[in-house]
Subunit: 114 residues, 2 copies
């Protein structure tokens, strides 16, 4: 059994094309023995965003802190701390921090997409 907290998880800048002001932590992943899916945590600085992209895997998200938008295709929808979001497979999406504090959210994915 692994028990950890965000402050103990190393943070790495997101290097993907289309990502701005984004960093990533991995509290629970394949290296910990997670057999099916992983918990990643992304932090977006104010004005930051993830890529506006599409892929075969789903995201299950939970907003830990802050507020912003998630693009559902080309339609922005407001999100804020306490929201649960399902981004289905093959839906174009993007998280954008439109607020003045960090936008921090959990992003669960199958381990193959960790």
């Amino acid at each position: 059994m692994k028990i950890t907290r965000l402050e103990h998880c190393e943070s790495f800048p997101v290097q993907m094309d289309g990502a701005v002001g984004a960093s990533r932590q991995l509290p629970i992943g394949q290296a910990d023995g997670a057999p099916n899916f992983s918990i990643r945590v992304f932090t977006l600085n104010p004005g930051g965003h993830t890529p506006h992209h599409i892929h075969a895997s789903e995201h299950l998200n939970y907003i830990l802190q802050g507020s912003g938008e998630v693009m559902a295709g080309d339609t922005p929808r407001d999100v804020s701390a306490g929201d649960y979001i399902l981004v289905p497979p093959e839906q174009k999406h993007q998280y954008r921090n439109t607020g003045s504090e960090p936008l921090v959210f959990m992003c669960m994915v199958p381990v193959a997409y960790e």
Copy 2:
């Protein structure tokens, strides 16, 4: 894309043998189109607990509120809001609310175990 919050998710008492003072919500599940895994949220009243049991599926947990213990086999480990926990497959486990406020935690599982 589904976006929801706990206050919009119906709460059901947990009827399993060995569960006391426990309720369950399902912000994201198979019925929403989640293809691989689901987000369940459990609330344990003070003194409440989940079954002390073992099964083939893992749990990925995040403590939203409160404090308590998770049994790793027969060893209690303290948990509190902000903790991420991996309960691996086939590890005996139980969540117990040893505090004075509700213990609320996310519990991600493969959809087959939703």
